[in-house]
């Protein structure tokens, strides 16, 4: 009902605006086009200056309000993330200066050079020195930004250290599945035609490959703080994207084309709870590439912990090969209760996995 009420108010408001607009047109005809033109010109010129002042104040206010909710307010949780944050600040400063300069000039000129009978425009069709100035100066700034950007880009996308831990992450509608290579640090071969979730092989691992026999599967990612990790990223059905917002990283998961991503976590989950002042803090994996109707719910969890905690967790896990050969219930790493508590709110992906 209230919807219709709002609609009626809107219609009435429109009629009112229309009547005023029509009336003002008649008034301007009566008053003389010249005079009403000058009046509205002054008003619009003033509004431009007002817009600039209020706009800048509003931008300041918006920053006060929202800054603490962004990641800028907390340190990056990975070494790559720190480089990205530095690059981000550099770009914010450079573009911020240009933004202020150009916007202020734009609105100031609009106000200052508003129509006046006394002035005639200055005929100024071109000036090569000026053109050269604003070709070269932006080019120099951009060269610096490109230089830093590419330097970090190659660092971040370069080869992972040899001792990096390997974790495989596979996306499907709408959850993530992890696989650890076990003691040999080699992931067993896969063949997508072998995929059969009902018999405990949701990832399509080829059990013929001996390297697969110690591979551990999980629904949650556990990482060791300070130890480089290389993610091997797959997708089963459509394109997904492994979004690691606190590590400032992201990589697509493409069916048929495995991708990789490496980084070193800097803080454990517990440390991040203190840093962010949020006792419910948890590293989340978000899907950042539209993947269907459940895209928004495709959430994964990463636990960053000390080596001891990690070893304790890992030793509680049984390799999937053994689980399957024992004919036990498929997949479902019922494992740790802490993880279950954390992910309880997101019943959908977990339920599907189970």
């Amino acid at each position: 009902m209230s919807g219709y009420f709002i609609l009626i108010i809107l219609v009435l408001a429109s009629v009112l605006i229309f009547q005023i607009s029509k009336a003002s047109e008649y008034v301007s005809v009566l008053k003389g086009e010249e005079k009403s033109f000058k009046q509205s010109n002054r008003i619009n010129a003033f509004l431009f200056i007002l817009f600039m002042v209020l706009g800048l104040a509003g931008a300041w206010w918006c920053n006060e309000l929202l800054y603490d909710r962004t990641l800028l307010a907390q340190p990056a949780a990975s070494d790559h993330g720190e480089k990205i944050d530095f690059m981000l600040w550099m770009t914010i400063i450079v573009t911020g200066i240009v933004f202020l300069l150009t916007q202020v000039l734009l609105f100031w000129f609009a106000f200052k050079y508003q129509y006046s009978e006394k002035r005639t425009s200055y005929f100024f069709p071109h000036n090569n020195k000026l053109e050269l100035l604003w070709t070269v100066v932006p080019a120099i700034f951009l060269t610096v930004l490109v230089g830093f950007g590419l330097f970090y880009w190659f660092k971040i996308t370069g080869d992972a250290p040899k001792d990096a831990q390997i974790v495989e992450i596979t996306g499907k509608q709408f959850n993530w599945m992890m696989r650890y290579p076990g003691k040999d640090n080699v992931l067993g071969r896969k063949n997508y035609r072998l995929t059969d979730a009902s018999s405990g092989n949701a990832l399509g691992v080829d059990w013929e490959d001996g390297a697969s026999h110690d591979d551990v599967e999980a629904s949650e990612m556990h990482l060791v703080v300070g130890k480089p990790v290389q993610l091997v990223i797959n997708a089963q059905d459509v394109i997904h994207d492994v979004g690691l917002v606190h590590f400032r990283l992201k990589m697509d998961a493409v069916p048929g084309i495995p991708t990789t991503l490496w980084f070193t976590p800097k803080y454990t989950t517990e440390q991040m709870k203190k840093i962010t002042g949020n006792k419910d803090f948890v590293y989340e994996i978000s899907c950042d590439q539209i993947c269907g109707s459940g895209h928004y719910s495709m959430r994964g969890v990463i636990v960053v912990e000390t080596q001891e905690e990690y070893d304790a967790w890992m030793s509680s896990k049984k390799p999937q090969y053994i689980t399957v050969k024992e004919g036990a219930a498929p997949a479902a790493p019922a494992a740790d209760s802490t993880a279950a508590a954390v992910t309880a709110t997101m019943s959908k992906p977990l339920a599907q996995l189970k």
Binding site: I20, S21, E25, S28, V29, S40, N41, N44, A45, F51, G58, A59, L66, R69, T70, I84, L88, T95, V98, F99, T102, L106, F107, A110, Y113, Y115, S121, Y122, F123, F124, P125, L130, W134, T135, P138, V146, G149, L150, I156, T157, G158, Q173, A197, D237, V238, I239, K250, D252, V254, P255, G256, T259, D280, V282, S286, D288, I290, G292, H295, R299
Partner: protein, 607 residues
């Protein structure tokens, strides 16, 4: 150059004569044109332009309304709106927008606004109306092809509109329709019949765009009036020329991508599909590449954003100069920067793909070429600022929107420097930062260019003015609203908040922006209501607006203002005017403006 110009002039005249005689035979003065030939299957470029514009306006209302609907979901995720269930049935069961419906709305909003409004509605309208009028031609090189161009667009519109009503809904994989999501009906409701409709509609749209584009190019190259050398053309003509070149060279690539996708969907091929298990079903396809589609798509997709933007750049330059009563500063630099943007537009497509697993070495070149675009963009901005400097500015509605355009172009352009840098893109890719960036620089800015054009050339189109008071309300609410909507989105983007989520309440990392989302949704509704006010003003003024009393109401130099107030088919009743100078002699030698048709005086100063 000069001999070439003269020969062009002769060619134009020759074709004009043949056209004239055709006119004389075709339309006896005693007979009125039939309704069908005048308003429906018209070959008059002005009528075709109006057809594009009005179709574009209708699409803009639909596409804009879709954004209001999904902003309802984002702003008020807990609320239920029974009226939605009345209107949309199962798609909004219980008054709440379903996930499938949400993604369908997002996808259609993008598709409609990018292609049907800001491509067809913007360059279709102004290329058609302005090219013959500003270069001094009776009509397009091929009026018939031009008519076909509109009607293919109309067909594309019908197919896309029909897809909104099929049982499984329209396409819902995002306007970029990445396979395998768009290729597999099992993966999404929207990837069933709706996706085939989308692809067929797009194929028809591309035919329309090519017919139009080839016509624009050949008209500008061949039908310029005597004296209208390329370097005397108004910047609108250069912008539209480059737009057409971009479209002709890049749209066919999208067509090939779309056709291959149709094959994958319906004929069992594996261009984009490999090793797929969907909902437990193991598919036989192997050896395709999902990334191949992204290359084909963005090879059009990136030039496409310049197809949207360039006409706005051109019109803003023109309107800014006319209403500052000053020549545009650095005409040749403006043409050069348009040219540079046009070339670079083809060389940057993979910056949409930095996180697809693209070879980092290859990525480096795309970073360099992408950030290079900032240089011609900077040249344009500083040239516009210098055009305003020491001018004598009249704030007509067109001028207001032009100044608003520059502000938005700066704001959105600068965030492009973030996203084009691959290091930052790893963090910001597919977050709300991207949404804010492209809405400001491509969406709203191009809309401002379009509004500027409509307000400025409305008197030429309909012989009447739009209502000024409504125009001022329209401008100020839209400018303020655009910043209120998109400025805060940069912050949620810097929090890493992903795009295309219907609901963030289950996330620890992204649930802190609920109040902001509600605010944005409220502003979006107000801004939408004000656009409806504009549409009302538009249609009302066609019939009841204040009449134009002089042929040149803005005191502009370009040729369209030498035609009668309501030009007939053929534009000039007598001979086509001859051009003696460039379009920007404003405030020269103490004269406020000197039309292009006026010969250079003996004592005129040089520049």
């Amino acid at each position: 150059m000069s001999s070439e110009t003269i020969s062009h002039g002769h060619a134009a005249e020759a074709s004009v004569h043949s056209h004239d005689s055709h006119e004389a035979h075709g339309h006896d003065h005693h007979h009125e044109e039939s309704f069908l030939s005048k308003y429906v299957f018209s070959t008059d470029h002005k009528m075709i332009g109006k057809q594009f514009l009005i179709t574009g306006i209708i699409w803009a209302i639909i596409g804009g309304l879709f954004s209001v609907l999904f902003r309802l979901q984002l702003g008020y995720p807990e609320a239920s709106f029974p009226i939605l269930e009345d209107l949309f049935g199962k798609w909004a069961a219980g008054g709440r927008i379903s996930n499938e419906f949400y993604y369908a709305l997002v996808t259609m909003h993008g598709t409609i606004l990018v292609f049907f409004v800001l491509t067809a509605g913007l360059s279709g309208t102004f290329a058609n109306i302005l090219i013959p009028l500003q270069i001094g031609a009776r009509d397009m090189a091929s009026g018939f092809m031009n008519m076909l161009s509109y009607w293919f667009f109309f067909l594309a519109s019908v197919v896309m509109f029909a897809s909104l009503f099929i049982q499984t809904g329209p396409a819902s994989g995002g306007w970029t329709i990445y396979p395998p999501l768009s290729a597999l009906g099992q993966a999404s409701e929207g990837s069933k019949l709706g996706m085939d409709f989308w692809l067929i509609s797009m194929a028809l749209f591309i035919v329309s765009s090519l017919l139009g584009g080839l016509n624009y190019i050949s008209t500008i190259l061949n039908l310029r009036t005597k004296g209208m050398s390329m370097t005397r053309m108004p910047l609108t003509m250069w912008a539209i020329f480059f737009t057409a070149v971009l479209g002709v060279l890049s749209f066919p690539v999208l067509l090939s991508g779309a056709v291959l996708l149709l094959f994958d969907r319906n004929l069992g091929t594996s261009f984009y599909l490999s090793e797929i298990v969907v909902k437990g079903e193991i598919l036989p396809n192997e050896g395709g590449s999902a990334i191949l589609f992204q290359h084909l798509f963005w090879f059009l997709g990136h030039p496409e954003v310049y197809i949207i933007l360039l006409p706005a750049l051109g019109m803003v330059s023109e309107i800014l100069s006319v209403n500052s009563r000053k020549p545009i500063f650095g005409y040749l630099a403006m043409v050069g920067s348009l040219f540079a943007i046009c070339i670079l537009a083809f060389l940057v497509w993979a910056h949409h793909m930095f996180v697809t697993g693209l070879n980092p070495f290859l990525g480096a070149f795309f970073v360099l070429l992408t950030l290079l675009i900032a240089v011609p963009s900077a040249i344009k901005v500083f040239n516009w600022l210098t055009t305003l400097w020491k001018g004598n500015i009249r704030f007509t509605p067109g001028m207001l929107f032009s100044i608003g355009f520059i502000s938005l172009f700066i704001s959105g352009g600068l965030t492009g420097i973030f996203l084009g840098n691959s290091t930052l893109d790893i963090h910001l890719h597919d977050t709300y930062f991207v949404v804010a960036h492209f809405h400001i620089v491509m969406g709203v800015a191009s809309f401002f260019g379009m509004f500027a054009g409509v307000y400025h050339w409305f008197p030429k189109m309909y012989g009447r003015f739009l209502n000024n008071t409504m125009a001022y309300i329209h401008f100020w609410v839209t400018l303020v609203g655009a910043y209120l909507i998109f400025w805060p989105m940069h912050y949620s983007g810097l929090a890493g908040m992903p795009r295309r989520y219907t609901d963030w309440s289950n996330w620890q990392s992204f649930n802190q922006f609920q109040d902001m989302n509600r605010f944005i949704s409220t502003v979006a509704m107000i801004v939408f209501a004000v656009q409806i006010l504009f549409v009302f003003n538009f249609f009302y003024s066609i019939f009841k607006g204040r009449k134009v009393t002089s042929t040149n109401p803005w005191g502009a130099n370009t040729l369209e203002w030498t035609t009668p107030i309501n030009p007939g088919h053929g534009n000039w009743p007598g001979d086509i005017p001859e051009v003696h100078r460039w379009a920007y002699d404003y405030s020269k030698d103490g004269r406020e403006f000197i039309p292009q048709t006026e010969p250079i005086g003996a004592y005129e100063s040089k520049h």
